[in-house]
Amino acid sequence: MQKRIFHIESNDAVARDTFRLVLRTDGPVAVRCGQFVDIDIPGYYLRRPISVSDCLPDGVVLYYKVVGEGTKVLSALAPGSPLELLAGAPGVTPAPQRSRTDSITGLGNGFHPEKCGSDALLIGGGLGAAPLYLLARELLAAGKKVTAVLGFNKADEICLTDEFRALGVPVHIATMDGSVGTRGFVTDAIAAAKPAFDRFYTCGPLPMMKAVCAALSAPGEVSLEERMGCGAGFCYGCTVQTASGPRRVCADGPVFDKEEVLW
């Protein structure tokens, strides 16, 4: 891993309590879909792990929700402010020989778009939609067809749907209050839309992902969330029990095959 300074290009509210953060740095960035970065927020002891929604040649796009004091401070930072990110480094380069021209990657193991046959179904809940955007871009670049089903509590929390549609991805929305799209859960929207897919990818609240995995028989990948310490695999603060034994969400995940997750 490596620490790198990024600067805020924009940090705008895009939905209720939800911000879109664009960060740029002085070197090439090559984050894989489903990876995350760990942000040092001035005044707070531990970093905040946030999944990468899009990868720019020299930056990242992140979405975050103001849920506590740290993210509130983050939301008040103005464009131009520096932020130190803990990010990945290409594993092939030993630290002493690494140069500033080597790419910055994300942390953790992300989604596997290469395992999709021809049609992918992306299922997001709330901000879980964010990492699915970069996944959609990688799937489309590989010639796969992509459908997105995104669930939100209420209409004022809806985000990223325009971005998915701009990629040409059909988006089906579920809201708990029925104000937009299908009333109910993402599983209700999937049942209504009946999309064709041979593999699904999901990120969102655990109960939602559990329901999705129970409802869909196709192979699937699940992005887990845990409160993290180091974010890089050496403190064992985010370990979960899986079908293959204890796994660190930060370093072994955050993405796991659905069969691995012990609900």
């Binding site: 891993m1 490596q2 620490k3 040092d40 707070y44 002891y45 531990l46 970093r47 740290g70 803990l86 480094a89 594993g91 030993p94 630290a95 002493p96 845990e226 409160r227 993290m228 310490g229 180091c230 890089a232 695999g233 050496f234 403190c235 064992y236 603060g237 985010c238 370990t239 979960v240 029990q241 204890p246 370093a251």
Partner: protein, 305 residues
Amino acid sequence: MVTKDLSVSLCGLQLANPVVPASGTFGFGLELADSFDLNVLGGISLKGTTREARFGNPTPRIAECTAGMINSVGLQNPGIEVLVGEKAPALRRVYRGAIIANISGFSVEEYAYNCGRADACPDIDLIEVNVSCPNVHAGGMAFGTDPASAASVTKAVREVVRNKPVFIKLSPNVTDIVSIAKACENAGADGITLINTLLGMRIDIHKRKPVIANKMGGFSGPAVFPLALRMVYQVAHACSIPVMGCGGVRRAEDVIEMMMAGATAVQVGAENLRNPMACPEIVAALPALMDSLGINSLQEIIGTV
């Protein structure tokens, strides 16, 4: 600038410098091998190990605090045989400094067994015994909270370890740290590491329940530094065996301060979690800081206050 001598002698082990990542904050070392050259570290204290593999506690295991954090990992580890058969040998292949096995147990017999296995492993240089574990034969009271039980662990371990220095890592959650340190010294300990974490707690006021799944956990971070320094000072002055100081260390200045208080080596714990490069950054900052303070050799400043 005169070349600065960062080396320290710890029970016959020559450390290139006093900076040692603390147990539990640095995995088994190799997790960070691709991030910086581990050989800049004086030693590495490996993740606490028990006889059997342990999953540890449910999540959340981590809670943020002002100037620190609480952890309740619960001694997740792969067991002593994996430590001596895989983890320590793998680290030795890339690391020349002192490899410290941190040993836990739930009975005196388990401590002795684990330490015997670590003693037989040629890739381990020093054994650090964590006496903050609950004694399952004494109602779960931690061994390290009572001089007699801390001494009984020390004595049992000392009887089986023939080739390596044995350090006892003390809990600060006690009334009189000096009496426990002296009991360990009298029972044959070669050194004392202190302090382990302080028992702490956070509550999520929105959910109205503890942040940590196990309710309580160990508090560490810069907030505990003055308390740790005080205990290092007390123990170093009361005992004649060397001390590894630990608790809230985050920068080169803290290392110097700990050494002046009496520490021969200085462990860096929670800071690794917020800054994985903390240890190499501290080592790199030491020569210039020594120069500004008129220090040529770190060994000379140990316990000078």
